[in-house]
């Protein structure tokens, strides 16, 4: 048995079969709810509680660290009073934090009213596990009524769209990922293009004709033509324009409106936006 070709090369053969399986999954794509999506959902659900714990611990650890720094050097006589003061300061910080959160949520509610579509809030619980891709994890999934392809926004602008769902978490492909693309237009000049992420950093607006009057600082918004994002949501602002070089189109760089590093809450639009023609009539 141990002298056979199969046994001697078992690791290579098993690896080869697994490589073929990986390539097959890549080529067919995996749909939510299919058998192949089960391990992915299981892994997300396995890590989700730890990520939520991690998020809460991070908040706690930051508080402890700052309390420690503030307390160093306080003499024994006034330690009790200082500690009390620090507690009050901590309370003040907490209230300020709650106020900020309140403001963010109020802005999101306002945005929800402006859009006029059904939407649910969700907390950001994790970031991309490799950093090469740009995704985030949110703490709401299929049990909260979410489905793949739904648009995700924040009070600052467009965040991305849902690409994978597990029962209690979902993965969001950010608009600055190199696989993301959104139909958009320059709000001032009305120049249309496709906003896509780049591997290095930031985003570019492709297929903008050279004759268009695009200027630095112009707001770029969603066109609503892709059937995912409602029309008029802020994507970012034009940060750089390269007019030189060959080609039919301008090279327009976009700075995202959303600060992805500080994103804490998002809103998922659970209702498909009206088609642009219908939106135009209404």
């Amino acid at each position: 048995m141990r002298d056979t070709f199969l046994w001697r090369n078992r690791v290579v053969l098993v690896s080869g079969v697994l490589l073929l399986l990986g390539a097959h999954m890549l080529s067919i794509g995996v749909r939510d709810g299919s058998l192949a999506s089960k391990p992915e959902a299981l892994a997300t659900e396995l890590v989700r509680p730890l990520l939520e714990l991690d998020t809460h611990l991070a908040d706690g650890a930051s508080g402890i660290y700052h309390d420690y720094l503030d307390l160093v050097g306080i003499s024994r006589e006034n330690r009790r009073l200082k500690a009390k003061l620090e507690r009050m300061k901590g309370e003040e910080t907490r209230i300020a934090e709650l106020e900020l959160e309140n403001r963010r949520l109020a802005e999101m509610l306002e945005l929800k009213d402006v859009i006029g579509l059904n939407a649910v809030g969700a907390e950001v619980i994790g970031s991309d596990a490799t950093g090469i891709a740009r995704t985030i994890l949110i703490g709401r999934g299929a049990n909260g009524g979410l489905k793949s392809g739904m648009a995700v926004i924040s009070n600052e602008g467009v965040v991305g769209k849902l690409v994978a769902i597990s029962p209690n978490a979902a993965k969001v492909l950010r608009i600055d990922d190199h696989n993301a693309a959104v139909d958009a237009f320059d709000e001032r000049s009305r120049a249309r293009g496709i906003v896509a992420g780049v591997v290095d950093n930031g985003m570019v607006m492709k297929y903008v004709e050279r004759t268009e009057d695009v200027q630095i600082g112009d707001p770029v918004v969603t066109s609503g033509l892709d059937g995912i994002f409602p029309r008029g949501l802020l994507i970012g602002r034009v940060s750089r324009i390269k007019r030189g070089g060959p080609g039919l189109f301008l090279n327009v760089e976009i700075a995202p409106a959303v600060n992805f590093g500080r994103l804490e809450q998002v809103m998922v639009i659970t209702e498909p936006p009206p088609r642009f023609e219908e939106a135009g009539k209404s």
Binding site: S15, L21, A23, E40, L42, L50, A129, T130, A164, D177
Partner: protein, 169 residues
Amino acid sequence: MRLAALFIIAAVVALTLQSGALHWLTFGALVPDLILILAVDLGLKHPSAGAAILAFAMGLATDALSGSRVGLNAFMITLVFLLCYELSRHLWVSGYSVASLAVFFGVVIKDVGILAVTGSFDRLEGADPELIRIILTHAVLTALLALLIFPVLDSGKRMLRLPRRAERE
């Protein structure tokens, strides 16, 4: 079985760190690829079909928390495992520095592979120095961290009385 238990726990911890705490220590948006370090350890020190399946499963778990294409990380991690396994068949890998070097090249292969599959190179005009910098930074960061993680993994194996090095076939 004990090997699987050790690597499943290590993978859950690694993914939690990669998606959460390690983002505090980022260089740009990059986070060290701890799962790849585990796959290199499996490839170099545990030549078995079970280890290949473990590597694939860890890649699939990474797919759950990264990117939009299921199977991409599973494919690349299995490929890195296979290359490390082949390396261990032809080269006696002892010491952490050679393993760390394998991690460096593993990250380069994985990142280039991912970017090639997702078509990102098509959008670039020639070799983009910024992209090369990103890949090399990612590889160096992960390789340096591997020097700390391999001893921790070996301690875990010692506790579970697992072999710390591959038996020559």
